[in-house]
Symmetry: C2
Subunit: 386 residues, 2 copies
């Protein structure tokens, strides 16, 4: 059951459909095979990312981007002189960036790996650690890319159901496995797990790699980086796309024991040694170094999330406890699908998953206070028109 492939952008009325999708560039799903394709390609089920329409005036709350621009220091770092030097290759080891990350997290530089977005880091990690005889374990409701990587690298997996309250039951993961991966907080539920539970799992799973995917960690939960020194099989993956407002430059990183990092380096250097470009490295360095700006953006998003939750609860929504920059919200007056469509008509884009158990929820990215106010007012208007 692949979350990504069952995600649905609901068919709109012909009028609203053309007005919304006209200028977007959808990824075409070409089903036809070709005799030139390897067997692998024929069997792949690629990931389908959230829609990226290019429409003015859209309130875009569907892909968990940060509503605030990157640190002013990022702007300052990308000078004309930097652009003039783009004729030169980047440092293939991204040494300066690794150094800044190592300092920020108080780990050694050989405990840090960087990649072209955390998707690339995760892909390398699946190839480096999860190609084992036993199946890997991850939640049934989680980041839709995990089953796609399994398809890409021929990895068997077991999807373990979330509990009734949508939490990850880590005790279920105490079974024979080829590796374990889960996001913390989980996506798209937004629900976080405490460090004690993760450490308990690590104490029982010492022979296979455990990956904690912390894409949303900075919006209110505790990072497992603190455990890396004690558990050589723990890999923590983070991204600059969310909390550091750099989705547009593609930088992700992993922190783990030097033996895990060395494996990722071996894959990277057999694939694309210069995977981080010169500008991405500088932007990432500036964003990580500007701790005050980073913390202030995270605090603003958290405050907006809490006030949005209150307002939507007052409108009858049931909302899962979120530690992320998005919420999973279940409307009471309409079905999630109906409300998704009505919001889209009103030029507000959120995300709907036509998947059992979560099909009654909408995943709503936390925008600015102004954007969330637009959302709340539009929902009020829709509900008052019943």
């Amino acid at each position: 059951m692949v979350l990504s492939n069952s995600e649905t952008i609901v068919i709109m009325s012909s009028e609203s459909k053309s007005s919304i999708s006209e200028s977007s560039t959808p990824i075409s799903a070409k089903p036809n095979n070709s005799r030139f394709w390897s067997e692998l390609v024929q069997e792949l089920e690629p990931y389908v990312p959230g829609e990226q329409p290019k429409i003015q005036g859209l309130t875009k709350l569907n892909t968990n981007e940060n509503p605030y621009p990157p640190s002013p220091k990022v702007v300052a770092a990308i000078t004309e002189d930097v652009i003039d030097h783009l004729r030169l290759y980047p440092d293939p080891s991204s040494g300066r960036l690794k150094n800044v990350i190592a300092n920020h997290f108080s780990v050694s530089q050989d405990s840090v790996f960087v990649g072209n977005g955390s998707d690339e880091v995760l892909a390398f990690a699946f190839q480096a650690f999860f190609q084992q005889s036993a199946a890997i374990l991850f939640p049934d409701i989680t980041y839709g890319f995990y089953p796609v990587y399994c398809g890409l690298y021929g990895i068997d997996s077991i999807e373990l159901p979330l509990a009734d309250d949508f939490t990850i039951k880590l005790s279920d993961y105490e079974q024979d496995n080829g590796g374990i991966i889960f996001p913390n907080p989980n996506a798209p539920t937004g629900i976080a797990i405490g460090l004690a539970a993760i450490e308990a799992l690590l104490q029982k799973n010492t022979d296979r790699v455990v990956i904690v995917d912390e894409a949303y960690i900075d919006f209110g939960s505790e990072s497992a980086v603190a455990l890396v020194e004690r558990y050589p099989n723990l890999l923590v993956v983070q991204t600059l796309s969310k909390s550091r407002s750099l989705a547009g430059v593609r930088v992700g990183f992993a922190i783990g024991s030097p033996e895990l990092i060395a494996a990722l380096e071996r894959i990277k250097n057999s694939f694309n040694p210069y995977s981080i470009d010169r500008i991405a490295e500088l932007a990432a360095i500036a964003a990580i170094e500007d701790v005050d700006y980073f913390e202030s953006c995270c605090q603003k998003v958290i405050a907006t999330r809490e006030s949005t939750v209150e307002q939507l609860q007052a409108l009858g929504f049931d909302i899962l406890p979120s530690a992320a920059n998005f919420i999973m919200a279940k409307p009471s007056v309409f079905s999630a699908k109906e409300l998704f469509e009505a919001l889209r008509e009103a030029k507000i884009l959120v995300r709907y998953f036509s998947k059992p158990r979560i099909e009654q929820y909408l995943r709503i990215t936390i925008g600015t206070d102004e954007e969330m106010q637009i959302l709340v007012e539009v929902i009020k208007a829709i509900q008052s028109n019943v």
Copy 2:
């Protein structure tokens, strides 16, 4: 026999070694295994890219970078507003960039694939087309990454020897195969093949994919893009790193039949849907659209190459006929290794391969006229001190 792994940065005297390598960040080769690694990782032999030392005052002629900065339109394209919008994901289909490439080469947009450098494009192509029962074919002296990709994806290969004059004998490739790949012009020889020979091969190889890797095509040879429409199994790969002075942003592309491109898209969307960042896409668009600047840079490099060849020939060098932005030059007074070391002492970096047949040559990137003059003068001085 892996070219990359047999490349040698010769051990220097301790004095010159420390003065040169101090501030560089070499990729450490960690030989130790780990019980957490997949079998694949344990057996990988990663690529070793050319040295990227960070030393002031070095004449850097070792990694085939363009001596001229990118088009002024690239600088103009990367505005503060662009950087402010880095909080948003890039267009995962890179639609605008594909469109500009399609227009430039007069092909349809579904004949174009773009990736994070041509290394990523090549990696995807190996996975998409070359995982076949028969071995793939490539030259024994060629781009060192081909055997690395074979290791990464478990692909069998046969390395066919170059002719005595270092040309690729395409008639050797008319045998059963799982695919064919060669650079045109070849690296590190710089020698080009004409389109007629490539078309003759394509007429005899219709069942497997033929990849022409045109990283250096713009410095004086003819692109096989002209053949793409007639041969659905032909994939042409190019990069913006050399002729468009954008090694620092990592953009490569492939042109081929829509059925080949669809396979690459399937791999990409199972690996990293947002592989091209927002700035890289804009820089690439500006660089491709500025045809005048591009042509003028290529012409300057070609003119400098021809005058350098003449001057080195006058100093007794034997030089392979180059259609690239580098030359393979065989010194007469010293061995290639001795001259490599002497140039390095004089802060001029070229590339030396300790590999049979080419170990008597140095690969020298074409820099500015001024840089090549420094090279020629230093060689004169070294030779006059014999």
